[in-house]
């Protein structure tokens, strides 16, 4: 049978991809702009004999995720920024207990309750481990509805592979917009989970806990976890390149901002600016080496993000002061391509990059 594309809202595409990835249980609590995801799963999960549960709070939901993951289930929760803050303690617990789970954050503007507008202001929280303790988890940042579906599917496989939570980081616009999507058909292969608390019949009982009281115990536990996260950092760096080969100015942008940046880059090329895009897909692990490599050829970087400047710190670490790195920032508004183009023009002029001033005059005439 030929697979057919369907037109889906981002939030619903995540839900359907999760079902097709063999998600066995979803625990959540509604919040705009991701409520269509639990709404979709509330209808679909019973159809496939899986569990959908609207918890009494975000804290309850993430604790249910901990329980189900401990019992060996493929499990997911989703929320938007303020709700994800509430889940941070649970995410720290999942990481500390080596538990696989998929967490979706469809970001909205903060701080506090903020609003319901799209934003990318949770970059620090997502990539630094928003809860207490020293931990890491994969952060995947899709930029289209197709990628939302693909990365959701893959997140389940990666969570199982590394026994670690995986975060999908989108924003309100990605959650709400519709694009054609080709949905995955088969779930990733099931992995053995001999550690799961499935009832200790004819075997020793398994324990899942995060408390390590012994003098050396906690140090060793952290060292072992660190090895796992080093392995993820080695194996799971993901990024996309667009018009980078001859780029003098490199935009670094993720998610919805990267889509607008692509358009701005095409517009910049029409006025003689050699611009290109490096789009991190994994925000942790961050494509540090790839950016360092590009920095050897480029004259300037422009980081485009919908926050006050968070990823720019990782870009500055990666470029090591070799080239100027500037910020284009909107916080709770998706920028438009023209605004980014203006920043590109200004940066090109100030850093001595090629720019066709005659073409710009013609354009504005």
């Amino acid at each position: 049978m030929v697979r057919k594309k369907v037109l889906m809202k981002g939030n619903e595409a995540i839900g359907e991809a999760a079902i097709r990835a063999g998600c066995q249980a979803f625990f959540g609590y509604p919040i705009t702009p991701q409520s269509e995801l639990p709404e979709y799963l509330a209808r679909r999960m019973p159809e496939v004999d899986m569990i959908f549960l609207q918890a009494e709070s975000e804290l309850a939901a993430i604790s249910m995720v901990y329980g189900a993951a401990g019992a060996g289930a493929r499990v997911m929760t989703s929320s938007s920024s303020p709700g994800i803050s509430l889940k941070q303690e649970g995410i720290s617990m999942l990481a500390g207990a080596d538990l696989p789970a998929v967490i979706v954050n469809i970001m909205r503007g903060g701080p506090g309750i903020g609003g319901i507008q799209p934003s990318q202001a949770d970059y620090f929280q997502a990539t630094r481990g928003g809860g207490h303790g020293d931990y890491r988890h994969l952060v995947l940042a899709p930029a289209s509805i197709q990628e939302l579906a693909d990365l959701t599917w893959e997140a389940f496989a990666l969570a199982d592979q590394y026994r670690n939570p995986v975060l999908i980081l989108g924003d309100g616009m990605l959650g709400q917009m519709m694009e054609p999507v080709l949905l995955p058909e088969e779930p990733p292969p099931l992995v053995d989970k001999p550690w799961a608390t499935t009832g200790a019949k004819d075997r020793e009982h398994n324990e899942i806990y995060t408390l390590h009281m012994g003098m050396e115990d906690l140090e060793k536990h952290n060292q072992r976890l660190a090895k796992k996260w080093e392995q993820i950092a080695r194996e799971q760096v993901r990024y996309d390149k667009f018009m980078l080969d001859d780029a003098e100015i490199v935009i670094v942008a993720f998610g919805i901002a990267s889509r607008v940046a692509r358009r701005a880059i095409r517009m910049a090329r029409e006025v003689g600016i050699k611009a290109g895009l490096l789009r991190p897909i994994s925000l942790w692990p961050f494509p540090t080496a790839a950016i360092a490599e590009v920095a050897k050829q480029a004259r300037a970087f422009l980081v485009v993000e919908m926050n006050l400047g968070q990823m720019i710190e990782d870009v500055r670490l990666a470029t090591g002061g070799l080239v100027p790195v500037e910020l284009f920032s909107k916080i709770t508004i998706v920028p438009n391509p023209k605004e980014i183009l203006q920043s590109l023009c200004s940066l090109a002029r100030r850093t001595g990059c090629k720019i066709d001033e005659a073409a710009i005059k013609e354009e504005s005439a």
Partner: protein
Amino acid sequence: MDKKREREIRTLLLAGFGGQGIISMGQFLAYAGMLEEREVCFVPAYGPEMRGGTANCLITIDEQQIDSPIFEQPDVAVVMNLPSFNRFEYQVRSKGLLLVNSSLVNQPVQRQDIEAYSIPVNELASSLGNIKVANVVMIGALLELTGIIQAESIIDSMRSTFSDSKHNLLALNRKALEKGAEYVRYLSSKQRLAV
């Protein structure tokens, strides 16, 4: 409208008040574009501005992969009520197209650098016996003027998205598309006579 203009149309903005079927219009166009194997992207305005009673959405239909889902100056704007007209008349790109629901907008278009059509879609829909298809009459006009999508693809998109109990409405929708197309053909011939 010549073929060249036709190709240049990729971005559309649709606006009106809640209940006029603005979001449905956008979804029919995006779905139909997908059925024609084009790249499509549909962005609804959500949030505070929706709570103000206006609804609008952005649609891109392209042959190539779509970069930005949002844009500042659409190639085409369809305004279904007066607040939308006031807000979006000046957003249409120069030499772009503005379609106005003259049933609810009684002000003249000021811009001289765009092509504008006033279409009384509420009355045209009422003449078919159902004012609810005013949005589909407008799609009919849009397709006639731009050729951006085949009318049959819109019907196919309705067939795919309507529940079975609503399939009896397909014939009415087909008539509504034809009504809108017919009206702008009539407008164009009138313009030719005036010249």
